[in-house]
């Protein structure tokens, strides 16, 4: 290292900003070069001159007091106003939001029955939309009932209600609530009634109408270890007639 290289490094060295390799080389150079060593010593003298406590101005007590007073006057009312009102408001707001969310989740969570009803309505709509209403087209219950054999693990009670002006037009397999079910299709004038049937393991229940979903009425009941879901765009009264007719008609 020569003086040309060493000079700019002296400040870095004095300021602790020189890397280890630079420090070693520079110290070696100081050893060999009295001029640079003198420059280094002068730099150190200057540093010491500048570091005297007498050169450091401490804040006058009146300034400290003035700032404290100023901060106090600014903070106190604000602290009351903000901290209290804001905090209370925020807490109330958060609590309300939590409660609302909880309620919304709880209230909006459909019950098992509601979910099933929706599923049945969806299935009914699908059957009308995709032209997949019938796997077996027959107005003959003696044709429809055997058709399910081997396709389901139960034998749905198939009835023809033509005498009650609800002619059977066929049946199909469907999938509801995680299982294969029988779907019987009846007509009432131009209306379609889908009747879903699958085994129930509960007690018998009387026909009950669920709230209409998307314009479709749903009535479900259970008997003889089967559960029945009738869905149609028929009005509720006519659909209930269908249910009662179905109920009172002897199966095959």
């Amino acid at each position: 290292m020569n003086c040309q290289q060493a000079k700019p490094l002296i400040d870095f060295y004095a300021d602790g900003e020189l890397d280890a390799a630079g420090i070693l080389e520079l110290e070696k150079h100081f050893h060999d070069c009295p001029a640079c060593a003198l420059a280094w010593r002068n730099g150190q003298s200057l540093k010491k001159s500048l570091k005297q406590d007498a050169l450091f101005f401490t804040a006058p007590p009146e300034l400290r007091r003035a700032i404290k007073a100023e901060l106090h006057s600014q903070v106190k009312p604000r602290a009351n106003f903000w901290n209290w009102n804001w905090l209370t408001g925020a807490t109330t707001g958060v609590a309300t939001a939590c409660l609302a969310l909880l309620l919304a989740v709880t209230l909006n969570r459909p019950s098992a029955e509601q979910r099933l009803t929706r599923e049945i309505v969806s299935s009914n709509i699908r059957s009308l939309m995709v032209d997949h209403m019938l796997d077996v087209v027959s107005t003959d219950q003696h044709t429809v009932k055997p058709w399910f054999n081997g396709k389901l693990d139960f034998s749905p009670p198939v009835k023809d209600l033509a005498a009650h002006e609800f002619p059977l037009i066929g049946g199909r397999l469907d999938y509801i609530g995680g299982r294969s079910v029988a779907a019987l299709v009846f007509h009432r004038n131009k209306h379609v009634i889908n009747l879903f049937i699958w085994p129930a393991n509960g007690t018998d229940t009387k026909p009950a109408a669920s709230a209409a979903i998307q314009g479709y009425n749903v009535i479900h009941w259970s008997e003889t270890e089967m559960t029945f879901w009738a869905v149609s765009d028929l009005n509720e009264k006519e659909l209930m007639e269908f249910v009662q007719d179905y109920d009172t008609t002897n199966p095959l």
Binding site: F12, D15, N42, S45, L50, F57, T58, R64
Partner: protein
Amino acid sequence: MLPHLDAAYNLARWLAGNDHDAQDVTQEASLRAFKFFGSFRGENARAWLLTIVRNTFYNWLQKNRPPEIAGELDDEALMVEDVSVNTEAINLRVADAQTVQRAIGELPVEFREIVVLREMEGFSYKEIADLSDAPIGTVMSRLARARKLLQKSLAGEFQTGGAK
């Protein structure tokens, strides 16, 4: 904020050059710092406060003493390489506080600032660069020049009729 009040006042005092203006600047800076403390993200509260003191001072300077910052720091006028020859020949002693104070007071404000931040507050080049919003190269060259000027000034008693 009050823990670093001395550092804040010291910088303001060196920049402003007198107690009255330094108190004004420090007070305003402290209140500003308090107001914007929510936006403080760093870990060095002292550096942050001094940044505010510095900015407050330059705003104050613009309003109150336009002539002093008439133009950007004229690097040509501050070229001190030529006078450095003189200081190299002498043995600089540690000067008394009064002499040093006068010598610092004679420095341009940008140099006073860097001397306070480096020598009294002990900030690194990088910290000073961040604090004064200047490139680190500018920090290093200003510091070198400030030191040359101080050495020249402190050695002045041995150097009669040195370079301009």
